[in-house]
Amino acid sequence: MSMATLMHYAPQVINLLAALLLLLAFAMLAQRRIQLLINLFAAQGLVLAASAALVGLVSGQHHLFVSAGITLVLKVVVLPLILHWLIRRLNVKWDVETLFNIPTTMLIGIVLVILAFNVAQPISLLAGTVARSTLGIALAAILLAFLMMITRSKAVPQVIGFLAMENGLFFAATSATYGIPMVVEFGVALDVLVGALILGIFIFQIRERFDSLDTRHLEKLKEQ
């Protein structure tokens, strides 16, 4: 494939990946089974890595390849493996429970997407990058992950929500700005990894103390 064709189709493929990312965010929001949730998270990581690599290729910002590599290793392989191992160890086979029913959550999700698109619209107009219009999708993905975090009552889905939110942030970084500087990126990746590990330890401790992973048990501390 010649460079010209590449340059012609790359933005479209990036848009397609952005749309896929959004679709996966919704799929995660709607997913009831915890194993599938983890797989969806891994898929989202894969889309993310692909888009980062593609943006890197088109823009000539080669440090994005490193970012894509980190994402691939961390979010497609390491974290899903840890999560799968975690739920096996904890023997969590039950379905994910939600605080609202799923259609309601989806409707709220749509509203959030519209909100995100509106917020991102003025920024997108100013962006000069190949993937400029994807900023709104990135923001939407962040908000959807946020929604997932607050509507799920079990600890593990909340953790996945946390990680998915980071996915959205990473996508924002690559799409709007060709990636944040490398130092920062390493720092962010490290923080996410450490955060996930700490949360993993926490999940064990919560289970030990409460015999359950339902964070609705964590409601003793409130105002009288």
Binding site: Q61, V119, P122, I123, L126, A127, G128, L139, I142, F146, M149, A155, Q158, F162, M165, E166, L169, A172, A173, A176, T177, Y178, I180, P181, M182, V183, V184, G187, V188, L190, D191, V194, G195, I198, L199, F202, Q205, I206, R209, F210, T215, L218, E219, K220, L221, E223, Q224
Partner: protein, 487 residues
């Protein structure tokens, strides 16, 4: 400079290895002292030579952050001194094991390191990373006791701050995005010194959206209402030295990050969008600040746990400082900075006293703590004086700064002044009414196996008293310079 950051980092590494030994607490104090010495040297240099950047512009110290560096290192040191007997008593009570102590000491140093990194880094991205790292270390510290309540508090803390901090990262990216247009891509576009130079040409729309995200993100850590829910829980359930540094330092540091971003946003808005929108960031800060003051003041009276109550008091004071920075102008910013200093000194002193008091009573419920002044006059007086100071009674420094903020509010934002006064009045009645019976009256307390560390309490209170009566001229100069930086 390197010593400043290196000392706590080395401390964290060493204490991770030997933190469970008997002498670990002394080692902790020693490392904190070293940090403080480095901070003092750095402060002296900045006072003498003005702002400086180090290591390829990655670190940057000016009069605004050097005063926070000094404050952080100082309170870090005194808290380490306080935690020496405190943690020993906790160990004797069987609440922490040797492994827990090792984690505690190591994470304590790590936490100091991350806070100093937030303060001194010139890179907005690194600032975010360090802030997140500070969250992670404190989450571990809050969960130290492994009880139901402490796990719950830590989980809440993590989830809320994790969500918040993610918004801040998005805001940081937007800033980078705006800066990239002016400065070109690469690390340079995230360096605050560079950004400050070109702030007038940053795109105002992007910067105002970025500021909203940054406010939500760092505001969660500052404990601004309605993002404050984690704060009382984390303060009440963690070990008391951790509550002291959380209240006294971490909130300040988060607010510092927010102020840095506000300077940039203001710069972009004033030149890019004159008129109404120029005050965008200030209005947001004032709104959130005022809301925090009011809500926290009314929650104060409903608390039964003493540490929770003082945590709400922190929310209130942070709201007040945010409001002051939101008003802007040399006097209000001066008052805000002064209030930051005296609040963190007083609040950590109070937590020291409260820590000992609740260890004596074996509970944190205020109704069960009675007659401190009989059983241990120094702790009792420490708590009483600290409370009087934090409530803004003259002659303490808090009075001076609150007075300044109020007069500025009357001058600049007359509508807000009665609300502030009313809230401060409510807070006064609530806190004073609860602390008084704790201190006076019949005693029901036990003796403790280790002598409590009272030097930190009274040294803090003495400084606050001094600041209330007389501000040394070089200190005042220094605040003025910093206030000018904030604008």
């Amino acid at each position: 400079m390197l010593a400043l950051l290196g000392s706590p980092l080395a401390g964290a590494a060493v204490l991770a290895l030997v933190g469970h030994r008997d002498r670990a607490a002394e080692l902790n104090v020693a490392f904190s002292m070293l940090t403080f010495l480095a901070a003092a040297t750095l402060t002296a240099r900045v006072i003498a030579g003005g702002a400086l950047t180090v290591l390829d512009e990655q670190f940057f110290v000016d009069s605004l952050n050097v005063f926070l560096v000094a404050l952080t290192a100082f309170v870090g040191m005194t808290t380490a001194m306080f935690s020496r007997p405190y943690m020993r008593i906790e160990r004797d009570h069987g609440r922490v094991a040797a492994g827990g102590l090792r984690l505690y000491h190591s994470m304590y140093q790590m936490f100091t390191f991350t806070m100093l990194l937030v303060l001194t880094t010139n890179n907005l991205g690194i600032m975010w990373v360090a802030m997140e790292a500070a969250t992670l270390t404190t989450v571990l510290l809050v969960a130290l006791y492994r009880t139901h309540a402490s796990l719950e508090a830590a989980w809440k803390y993590f989830i809320l701050c994790g969500v918040g901090i993610a918004q801040a990262l998005f805001g940081t990216m937007l800033v980078y995005f705006a800066a990239e247009k002016v400065l070109g891509s690469g690390t340079g576009a995230l360096l605050w010194t560079h950004l400050d130079g070109v702030k007038a040409s940053l795109e105002p729309t992007v910067m105002s959206i970025a500021f909203v995200f940054l406010l939500v993100g760092y505001g969660t850590k500052v404990g601004l209402v309605p993002l404050h829910n984690w704060l009382p829980d984390a303060h009440a359930e963690g070990p008391t030295p951790v509550s002291a540094v959380l209240s006294g330092l971490l909130l300040n540091v988060a607010l510092y990050a927010l102020v840095r971003c506000k300077v940039l946003t203001d710069g972009a808005l004033v030149s890019g969008a004159p008129g109404e929108r120029a005050a965008f960031a200030s209005r947001l800060l004032m709104g959130f600040g005022l809301l925090s003051v009011v809500v926290a003041a009314f929650f104060l009276s409903r608390q039964r746990d003493v540490k929770r109550m003082f945590a709400y008091s922190s929310v209130e004071h942070m709201g007040l400082i945010t409001f002051a920075f939101g008003m802007g102008g040399p006097v209000a910013s001066f008052a805000g900075l002064l209030h930051m200093t005296v609040h963190s000194l007083t609040k950590s002193a109070i937590f020291f006293a409260v820590g000992h008091a609740s260890q004596k009573a074996g509970t944190q419920i205020m109704d069960d703590i009675r007659g401190l002044i009989r059983s241990n006059p120094t702790v009792g007086w420490g708590l009483m004086l600290g409370t009087v100071a934090i409530l803004g009674m003259p002659p303490f420094g808090v009075f001076a700064s609150e007075f300044l903020i109020l007069t500025q509010a009357i001058a600049l934002q007359p509508w807000a002044a009665p609300i502030l006064l009313l809230s401060l009045g409510v807070a006064f009645a609530a806190v004073f009414g609860k602390v008084q019976p704790m201190v006076f009256g019949d005693s029901n307390l036990i003796r403790l196996p280790h002598q409590p560390a009272l030097v930190p309490v009274f040294s803090h209170l003495a400084i606050v008293l001094m600041l209330g009566l007389w501000t040394p001229p070089y200190l005042a100069d220094w605040y003025r310079q910093a206030a000018r930086l904030i604008g």
